[in-house]
């Protein structure tokens, strides 16, 4: 138990075409404050499901286990309450919102969270100044604030927009679900730097990735291997290179 994020025996299923499908089969994971952990694992192991369940997506039914976030029962909270409490999910496939201006969206989100946290709301001028600076630090084109949310964005632009939202919402715990996928090396470095800038004793992150590459820039404190809905192995940052050269076969064999 870390008193920050504690996942214990978490099981969850989804109703797929009328059939109940178990995806998480007893996830145990603790992340202490100020640490960055990574989850690696083969396709279909439940990594994205874990991120959705933590963020509060309704399609998944939690059947057993618990998640405590800063002393509170996370699973009892609405998605917006989780965001206000400091949780942020960077989506693997960010959603397009046609007709919603990106700057307005960001300000609405920031102010909703500030309101819920008992902080003063930002006026349009103050917000735009902050947003422009944050966008610039991520090498985003200035017009991305004026466009509709993620509409017509390239894959890389969408991922940067996720990191921009994370920067502005100031979470204490961020989940990055394959934020590296579809990024070239330069974009990857920019995104990793964006996350690294947030690193502090008050910020933790769970980085879901397939590739060791991201972890070269965003060095984690711990790496967990996930397969068949469970964490089957945990280790230090050196685990990334081992997985990169050997694959998951050995861990899968050990767990079997």
């Amino acid at each position: 138990m870390t008193q920050f994020l504690d996942i214990s025996g978490l099981c969850a299923r989804i109703d797929a075409d009328g059939q109940e499908k178990e995806i998480l089969r007893g996830v145990d994971l603790s992340i202490p404050p100020g640490e960055v952990h990574a989850i690696m694992g083969p396709n279909g192991s439940g990594k994205s499901t874990l991120s959705y369940v933590l963020a509060g997506r309704e399609d998944y039914e939690v059947t057993a286990g618990s998640v405590t976030f800063q002393g509170k029962d996370l699973l009892e909270m609405e998605p917006e309450e989780r965001a206000a409490a400091g949780l942020f999910l960077a989506f693997q496939s960010p959603i397009e919102l046609p007709g919603v201006n990106n700057a307005n969206f960001l300000r609405t989100a920031v102010n909703a969270v500030r309101r819920a946290r008992g902080q003063e709301e930002l006026d349009a001028v103050a917000f735009l100044k902050t947003a422009r600076e944050a966008a610039k630090a991520l090498s985003m084109a200035p017009d991305m604030l004026k466009r509709n949310v993620n509409v017509g964005f390239s894959g890389g632009e969408k991922k940067r927009n996720e990191v921009l939202q994370m920067t502005l919402l100031q979470p204490s715990f961020a989940i990055l679900d394959e934020t590296d996928s579809g990024l070239d090396v330069d974009a990857l470095r920019i995104v990793a730097e964006g996350v690294n800038r947030l690193r502090s004793p008050d910020f933790s992150a769970l980085v879901i990735t397939h590739h060791q590459r991201l972890l070269d820039y965003l060095v984690p404190d711990r790496i967990h291997v996930m397969a068949k809905g469970r964490i089957i192995h945990s280790g230090g940052p050196e685990l990334a290179k081992q997985i990169d050269s050997e694959g998951y076969t050995r861990f899968l064999a050990e767990a079997a």
């Binding site: 509060g56 917006e80 919102l97 046609p98 007709g99 909703a112 919402l169």
Partner: protein
Amino acid sequence: MNAIIKQPSATLVPFKARLDAITDPARKAALGALHRSGLPDRRVEAWKYTSLRFLNETPLVAPSEEFDAAQARAELDRLGLTAGEGADLPRLVFVNGRYAPDLSVPPQNVGLSFFGKTEAFGTLSSPDRDALTALNAALATDGAEITVAAGVDAGRVLLVSLGLADEPVSFHPRHSVTVEEGARLSLICVQGGQGRYLHNPVMELSVAANATLNHVTVQTESDDAACLATLYAQIEERGSYDSFVLGLGAALSRHEVHARLNAPHAEVHVNGAQRLLGRQVGDVTSVITHAAPDCRSRQTVRNVLDGQSRGVFQGKVLVERIAQKTDGYQMNQALLLSEQAEIDAKPELEIYADDVKCSHGATVGALDDEQMFYLRSRGVPEAEARQILIHAFLAEALALIPDAMAQTLAAHIMEIRFPVTGEE
């Protein structure tokens, strides 16, 4: 000439006394057609989805010429027409279908007369085919007749209708707009009111060669009113008629547009959006006739339907044999916010030419779960997230309005009717 007045059909009863008193030959001719056909019931194909039963419920009398000026001014304030974007626009205000000079600021650069003085029925409308047009022809008392002379850019004109009667009334304004060769006009119609009434306007719109008429109608009538409007547009060579109707009010509304592309390279847009709740019925019907080659028509109509409201979309595109190289596009989209809300969509393509490009489509759906989750995961509360997505859906439709000020004005009136917070 059919001068024999038969027993009026049931739905004409509310108008009986007035119809019986008509002596003018032109009106009698129109009345004859109306008596032959009666007001349509739902067995008539064009009225399959929209019932006029509303009209049976109360006798509707002719409004008196008097009205409460303070109430009229308060209504203009409430519609947001006396402050902000629209405050300085030249305006023609009609109260209960009659021109109200004291509330109006006539435009300087257009020719202006009134149906009340000229009694000039235009040639574009067809009372023989359209019963509501016949009813209008029989009972019309006034209306604006606007002419923009060749080559003149007349800027914007606001045409306002207020329904403000102490007892249930019906009024039947007869407007006409003529934009001569190479001229331009942006016409913004705003319709509001209080209490129970029938607003039954007919508008004839004539767009000459190389002329442009941009036309926005914002219908935010009283919750207890019916608004049954029929518009006839004719567009000549390289002329453009770009229309948008935003339907927000009235218990029963129908916005019916007949647009005829009469010469090559003419263009018409018949766009719109509706936002309905409660038991409202809103009907957007159009017949676009391609009567010449190389013309373009565009139509996008979006509906947001809550409560037990019902949206109706009937869009017919008729391509005559001569109209080769026609380019037509039609799209109807509905967002249903409740289990009881309903959309009835009937697209129709009738094509006699063999070298044309016509497409149409329709979508119906609820708010997108993924979009809702995305917003909520960013801390936006559920109710606010819904509002954002509804607003976005309609904002995309309003973005089709070419005149930026008209667009802002329409969005503003929608916000007055549907404040961004505190809906439902």
